[in-house]
């Protein structure tokens, strides 16, 4: 009993292959336009891919490869979708919204309302059962939407940034609720929040430009990110390149030429193999002149942005970031466009296989 999907959507440049275990929750991370929502729509049957196949347990969701084409319509898939907005049916009461799934599956009015009451109690919104969705707050409505999705007893729950439309007070409540109801369930959850991934997911995948660029256990991905996006979420600087005896030879990019980064090699990092060098912004110092003497790394960069970050100033130069004190920033006279050197000690740089 597992879920597997393999799909290509040419119009949206999506090409993804993904499997989920029996009771596994996987978080999908990635920049806007990476194809995360499209992947969920394909799984739900709302978007038809150009090629690929998908199975959920014994059921074939679609198989567009080879001669006999199979396409299971959305209502027969058992894949409930929960979006950013609750999308509760405005003309039905809260109770009938939650009863909608069981009723559609053929249960009687009384049975389906019984099921609805169970799930309303489960998500702690029983007192609103007689109300219309227009009378609920955003957080309450989203909890009702969770109950409605669960009442349909889906084999696979698809959540598309369920917390992103909620205010900062409602989000933690819903996150706790999801942690409770997702345990022991199979779910895919799109999120932009590290906290969601850490709390709710067993595993994360990072998507970029329609492809999966990184996947692994949640803690491992944030401890040793291999993609620029995951590194950004984990709050570390990441440079990709080829592992050398004592560090990494970076690939040239728009901002920096290929250069050598001295660092501490991980056990699994093999010289000659692709790898990444990671270091926290707090380990970076800024100098106006090139620093000399190893074991320091010195990167000539142009500052793109300065922004407050806690009690520090975060100085950004392309993909790299440095955290320095406000007084140091004032002393150096930094502003966007300034040409400076980001300097980091070799001992602060971790080099590991990509």
């Amino acid at each position: 009993m597992s879920f597997h999907i393999d799909a290509t959507v040419r119009a949206r440049n999506l090409d993804v292959s993904l499997s989920l275990g029996q009771a596994e929750t996987v978080a999908i991370l990635g920049p806007n336009g990476a194809g995360k929502s499209t992947l969920l729509s394909v799984a739900a049957g709302l978007v038809r891919p150009d090629a690929g196949s998908a199975r959920l347990g014994d059921q074939v969701l679609f198989n567009l490869d080879g001669g006999s084409r199979v396409w299971t319509p959305p209502h027969l898939r058992g894949t409930a979708l929960l979006a950013q907005e609750p999308l509760l049916f405005p003309h039905l009461s809260v109770l009938d919204n939650v009863a909608f799934g069981p009723r559609s599956a053929g249960a009687s009015r009384a049975e389906s309302r019984e099921t609805a009451r169970h799930w309303l109690a489960e998500v702690d919104v029983m007192e609103f059962s007689g109300r219309k969705p227009g009378q609920l707050s955003g957080g309450q409505a989203q909890r009702v939407a969770v109950a409605r999705a669960l009442a349909a007893s889906p084999e696979l729950l698809l959540l598309d940034e369920p917390m992103s439309a909620l205010d900062i007070h409602a989000a933690p409540h819903l996150r706790r609720l999801l942690k409770r109801v997702l345990s022991g369930r199979r779910a895919l959850i799109i999120t932009h929040d590290v906290l969601d991934a850490l709390m709710l997911a067993d595993r994360v995948i990072v998507m970029d430009k329609g492809r999966i660029v990184e996947e692994g256990a949640t803690r491992e991905v944030f401890r040793r990110p291999r993609s620029q996006f995951a590194a950004g979420l984990a709050g570390v600087n990441l440079m990709a390149g080829t592992v050398t005896e004592d560090g990494l030879r970076t690939f040239a990019n728009a901002e920096l030429p290929s250069l050598h980064v001295a660092g501490h090699l991980d056990d699994e990092a093999e010289p000659g193999e692709p790898g990444v060098a990671a270091f926290p912004p707090s380990a970076v110092s800024i100098f106006l002149d090139a620093a000399h003497g190893s074991p320091r790394n010195s990167f000539p960069v142009a500052i793109t942005d300065l922004e407050p970050h806690g009690d520090h100033i975060r100085v950004r130069a392309g993909d790299l970031a440095a955290d320095i004190t406000p007084s140091a920033s004032a002393e150096l006279g930094l502003e966007p466009g300034s040409r400076v050197y980001f300097v980091v000690k070799a001992t602060a740089v971790q080099v590991y296989a990509a």
Partner: protein, 267 residues
């Protein structure tokens, strides 16, 4: 006072526009022979015509709903080749002279018509029957329902339908329990407009259905006929028709339609 942003002279023209509609109605009311009003409007022929008008208008409104909902769905939802052309043809009766519509119907359902010949063989005769009245009214009233409903469907979007599908609802269930209830205000105002248009239909009816008392002579036809012989009766019946129209339109525009999308979706 809130700033309106309307130049003063616009109010002047708006007043002229309002008077242009109201003045003829007032002139007609001034001509009503009140002493004879009740006997005139309760005469046999008047009551027969009014009854026929209400019955046929109700039937054609029902037919508009049955045919208009599918048409509006097809036009509003998924784009396809020829969609613009289909929309143009569906809306054609709005700008077509009703007499022309009547002639077209005659050549379709009349004895020698496209479908009429086969129907005649099957023993069904449509032209110059009450059925013909309903068809003529449906022909001219259908676009009102389609336009109104298509707009409502486009505004509502199909995200709720997508959610309903993932919750396990079959397409027919979605239509019945989600789509139609969500556009009910648009459907209702479209149906009211169709009813009003059916009630006032004259040209297509006269051409395609004729003017047989109790069978095809609706209130507008009766008024036109009475005008030749008894002006007082024509005016009295006209007032009845105005009253019915005012009631119907008043019921549907009692309050401005608020969008039936909850605040959470708009936020």
């Amino acid at each position: 006072m809130n700033f309106s942003g309307i130049p003063r002279w616009v109010y002047g023209l708006a007043a002229v526009g309002g008077l242009f509609v109201l003045l003829p109605l007032a002139a007609m009311v001034a001509k009503v022979n009140w002493a004879q009003f009740i006997p005139l409007v309760t005469s046999d022929s008047s009551l027969t015509a009014l009854g026929l008008s209400l019955r046929t208008s109700a039937a054609s409104t029902a037919l508009c709903v049955v045919l208009g909902i599918p048409l509006a769905l097809v036009l509003a939802r998924r784009p396809f080749r020829g969609q613009r052309l289909l929309r143009a043809f569906v809306l054609l009766p709005l700008v077509l002279p009703p007499v022309v519509g009547g002639i077209a119907l005659l050549y379709t359902f009349g004895r020698q018509g496209l479908l009429g010949k086969s129907l005649e063989l099957a023993g069904i005769q449509i032209a110059f029957s009450t059925t013909a009245v309903v068809l003529a009214q449906t022909f001219v009233a259908l676009p009102f329902l389609v336009v109104s409903l298509e707009g409502a469907l486009r505004t509502a979007g199909n995200r709720y339908e997508a959610v309903a599908a993932t919750l396990g609802a079959r397409p027919t269930t979605i239509l019945r329990r989600v789509t139609v209830p969500m556009v009910l205000p648009g459907l209702a105002s479209g149906a009211v407009l169709s009813f009003a248009r059916s009630l006032g239909e004259f040209g297509a009816t006269l051409t395609f259905a004729g003017s047989l008392q109790g069978v095809t002579r609706t209130l507008p036809l009766e008024i036109y006929l009475q005008r030749e012989t008894d002006a007082d009766a024509a005016v009295a019946l006209s007032l009845v028709l105005v009253a019915v129209a005012v009631i119907v339109v008043g019921l549907s525009y009692r309050r401005p339609h608020r969008a039936d999308i909850p605040a959470e979706a708009a936020a």
